[in-house]
């Protein structure tokens, strides 16, 4: 153990020396150039300092971004399984990935599902919490801290185990409390049956599109409303695993809430009051004043949330690690990248997966920026 630490500490010290040398070299070269161009001594000093201080990033950029990007672009066109050398295969990886790899298609569609249903759910809850917190209330700081807490804890796999425990279909807390509340207040049962039916039908339909096999959907549809004793099968069934992931996403919406809260506090009070004098009700004011003025915050949350959803890894890892049969129904693109690449050192294929992911994120972000003008208002 100590040896592993020492090894890394020695390398760290070496890295610091390396960075210092790079700084001096880069700064020195820049100063030489400045001298040659006839700048004053003072300016020469500043140019030296500028390059010397920026050198760590510039060197890191070349080593950890430029070189890997170029290398992975090449490797994505090769069959490369470590430790054997890469062999050029043209577009084979991409063709396999996009046309024949059903697991990748499943990962892509699952990620899409989480983006289309999970992200809006996350944003709506964040907005609702921010609106509640924006009232004149006591203890706002306390509530705010409570809602923000999952941002710290929400991606720690060890902490997420608490969710695995709570989502257990039989003994888990969530289903226990659902059973208990139905026992106390029986009319809730029909709501619960409808909820289960809606989730199962929609997920069966989605799985049908994903696999081209609609027998599950037919079965769920023909069964109709589930029996009165049924509970959600969060981590037990392919039809539920995505709902469980969305639950975890909604839980950690604290950052979005803060962004909304900041935007809400910037809305001038006079605007609301003027609308009220003109006879606008609370709903109209929300719809025509608050929401449009929040659109920059919504846009920011949407972009950041999109990128985070596309890159989700910890939640599916914790929920799927011990449930390989659910993997196809719940794994995300990054989870698949990890499984497909690092189990068999499939470098070429993994490089192709990461390029598809990168291009996808860029396309979606660009589309969002294109659409921005249509619905984001920076003033009323």
């Amino acid at each position: 153990m100590v040896r592993a630490y020492l090894y890394t500490l020695i390398w760290a010290a070496g890295t610091v020396v390396f960075i210092l040398l790079c700084s001096l070299a880069m700064g020195g070269a820049a100063r030489l150039l400045a001298k040659w161009r006839g700048l004053s001594r003072n300016r020469q000093e500043e140019v030296f300092a500028g390059y010397a201080f920026a050198a760590p990033w510039i060197v890191g950029f070349v080593i950890f971004v430029v070189a890997p990007t170029l290398a992975s672009l090449y490797w994505s066109f090769t069959s490369y399984r470590l430790p054997a050398p890469p062999v050029f295969v043209g577009l084979a990886n991409y063709l396999k990935l996009l046309l024949r790899d059903m697991d990748f298609r499943a990962a892509l569609l699952n990620t899409l599902y989480l983006t289309v249903f999970g992200l809006p759910a996350q944003m709506v809850v964040a907005l609702a919490l921010a609106l509640l917190l924006n009232q004149r209330i006591r203890g706002r700081g306390l509530y705010r801290a409570a809602f923000y807490m999952p941002v710290f804890l929400g991606t720690n796999a060890a902490v997420l185990l608490s969710w695995v425990f709570m989502l257990n279909a039989n003994t888990g807390f969530l289903n226990q409390i659902l059973r208990l509340s139905i026992k106390v207040f029986p009319p809730l049962r029909i709501l619960m049956q409808i909820f289960i039916f809606v989730i199962e039908v929609s997920n069966a339909a989605f799985l049908g599109v994903q696999t081209g096999n609609f027998t599950l959907l037919q079965r769920v549809w023909q069964t109709g409303l589930p029996g009165p004793e049924r509970v959600p099968l969060w981590l037990e069934h392919p039809l539920w695993i995505k709902a469980a992931i969305i639950l975890l996403m909604v839980w950690s919406c604290g950052n979005m809430m803060l962004i909304y809260l900041a935007a809400l506090s910037n809305i001038p009070r006079e605007l609301q009051e003027a609308a009220e004098v003109d006879g606008a009700g609370p709903w109209q004011r929300f719809w025509h004043i608050t929401l449009p003025l929040l659109s920059p915050a919504t846009f920011y949350n949407l972009i950041v949330g999109l990128i985070a959803t596309m890159q989700m890894f910890e939640q599916p890892y914790v929920l799927l690690r011990d449930r390989p049969t659910l993997a196809q129904a719940g794994h995300t693109v990054v989870y698949y990248l990890w499984r497909a690449t690092f189990r068999f050192n499939e470098i070429g294929y993994g490089a192709a997966i990461s390029w598809v992911l990168t291009v996808l994120i860029m396309i979606i972000t660009l589309i969002q920026f294109r659409l921005e003008r249509r619905w984001v208002h920076y003033e009323l």
């Binding site: 609106l131 004149r136 060890a158 185990l161 425990f165 920011y300 470098i347 993994g350």
Partner: protein, 298 residues
Amino acid sequence: MEVGAMVPSRPWASPAQRLRRVGIGLLYGALYFALSAGALATMFPLIWMILTSFKTFEEANAPQIVWLPSALRWEAYRAILSRPEFLRAFANSVFVTALAVGGTLASITVVAYAFSRLEWPGRDVVFILMLSTMMIPPQALIVPQYVFFNKLRWIGTYNPITIPGFFAGGAALVFLLRQFMRQIPKDLDEAARIDGASHWQIFWHIILPLCRPALATAAIFLFVAHWNSLLQPLIYLQTTSLYTLPIYVTSLVNPQQTVQPWPSIMAASFITALPLIVVFLLLQRHLIGGIVLSGMKG
């Protein structure tokens, strides 16, 4: 959107006004109820984790909810803390987080200084280049970096998850610090320059002490990111003795068993969460205040 903004409290209020005030009181009651319920639900995974860690195996896996442990039992903590693997994973997490946060923080501060307080040809181009790297998902670089670290024989060591940070990893945090440093008046440096101070001295004695709030924010973000980090350790730390807490604690769940030893797993989870909770409780006011003030920049 203020619920009670328009009602001045007057002792001579008419019955209609009084009725209205009762309505507003009810509205406030509903508001507090919704907020408290939401806060309770949000905190519940943590509360349940703590409660479970004090329960017996039977209480935790009972078919009917057992709300509270029948006694304050420390067995689960004693059991988990007597496991050398757990202690080692804890030490590993502390080592990795400390080294990575320290190295990253030092380098991003230096780089942010170059981007905010110094004039050098090419600065704006380099800065835009840096901002554009925020568009690249970190996962996209994982595969080629793995090959690179494999060539260096770094697989199975802590190097791949600590050393890259030394090169000012994390454009968003450099950006945050740069924005903060730009607000410091330029006269300070100029006066120091006239007094013969070098750029390094200005950075060390003037700018750095003024940046403490922003540095604290960056340090919190880095700490949370490295303490929670999962994908990179999974890829690079291929031996059990090197595992960090998130990997080790999730491996406590045994897929071969239908019933898990939840009290000890939850005790391990809670110990893992504890540093996060402490940092959060100490610094949340600073952090949340900063995000709310700076609005979108958070």
